[in-house]
Symmetry: C2
Subunit: 279 residues, 2 copies
Amino acid sequence: MEKSSEKFSRNQRVVGITKILTESPNRVVNLNTFTEIFNAAKSTVSEDVVIVRETLEKLYMGKVETVSGAAGGIKFTIDMSKYEKDLFIQELCDVFREKDRIMLGDFLYVTDLMFNPDIISKAGKILAAMFRDIEVNYIVTIETKGIPLAYEVAKNLGVQLVTVRNRTRVTEGASVNVNYLSGTNKRIQTMSLSRKAMKKNSKCLFIDDFMRGGGTAKGIDELLQEFDSELVGCGVLVDNNFDAKEKIIKNYVSLIEYNGISEDGTAIVKPSEKYIDKI
Amino acid sequence: MEKSSEKFSRNQRVVGITKILTESPNRVVNLNTFTEIFNAAKSTVSEDVVIVRETLEKLYMGKVETVSGAAGGIKFTIDMSKYEKDLFIQELCDVFREKDRIMLGDFLYVTDLMFNPDIISKAGKILAAMFRDIEVNYIVTIETKGIPLAYEVAKNLGVQLVTVRNRTRVTEGASVNVNYLSGTNKRIQTMSLSRKAMKKNSKCLFIDDFMRGGGTAKGIDELLQEFDSELVGCGVLVDNNFDAKEKIIKNYVSLIEYNGISEDGTAIVKPSEKYIDKI
């Protein structure tokens, strides 16, 4: 942002500060950024930040913290009211119940939802808020349908996204490959990740669209061990309890539960028991 | 958002309004949303919106319009100053020039950048701003590395993302398949899209990470014809002029240009000539 020679009113400064802070969640913004943009004293800008903080907290729109030290500044972290979260999850269940989602072979077509920015941006915020207080270095996902959701979680937690591929790519140099049993088609598949994708000794969160038996999450856990890294949590949009009631992975959260198709031809879904307000 | 019985000051209202408007670009927010949240009269909230509008425009942070009619309200559209765009594109070139990105076989490793929320959220905003005044119904991309960028463009333009797959999936019902010549490995590949993914007579924008010869974009064009839909524009992060100077598709924009690897072992990149401030 350019330095300014103009003057701004308090109303104007809090608008600009809100925009800057909320579009970079979990990132420390130096107070000098604001004094330069608004051509204002540190004390003035500090008072502005207090107004932004109090308002966002009052409206359950997020938290604003002061980070001290040399790399210090102001940090915004996401939040959403329980009312808003519950409403979204109910609405998501309704969308899953739309009749024309049932495909030949009793498959549920939800690909559009996984690439719908309105849905994925809210779901990503809710998942990210659950892991807000855990130290995480990377969000990990596996191609393809979980990528937007994982990207949103990464953005909201202010960390890098790492996408595991389903085969080795020549353009990615040396890679680590792990075999795993996929729930979708019950066969051995390969997951592959470039050696360059991740630093050693990292803490990772696995985010995906669906959880069936947990075979993919288990594979990711093994893959991360090859990077001397650790799976510290797992979050999915949909817990598929119809195709797999028992999971080989226990420590995960989900927003909704899928329990098959009813006699009248609609998906049986409900807010997940694995949905918890905060970990 | 819940109705409120509390009172808010103007400073507080403009903070809340900024947060709500800027997190849903290109979406109309009814004025009643604000009167309910802030327990304030329509005239009061209208004055607040004027402050938000004037401030965001002054800071090149976006435009706020009033949409009239039954479904009317307030709409935020993204913007970024030329200074900020140019700075970002220069920084992106610097990141591409990092020495350890050159892999065996002279491949350039940039996968991490395509999944980096800091980079992709800005690149997505710049691309979306270029197409802000064109009517677009869908953003279309092809798996895998362009998905986060395409998702950001879709989110900033307030439309659905459609991701073309590289093979048919049983879970997606009837699909349309098109063969195309991929630039990456110079062989015939298949792209596949579910019949359910798109309504007929749609206007689509293709967004991808790299443009080589344009074979993929040409394939997307053909695929869209099968949906009686139209490719109205094309945007990529990197224009690869090293592997393919001549493109079979002419109408596209890009942010940076890649021209091979220099003798000292760094990528030769520069801001793209196809980067234009606005279409």
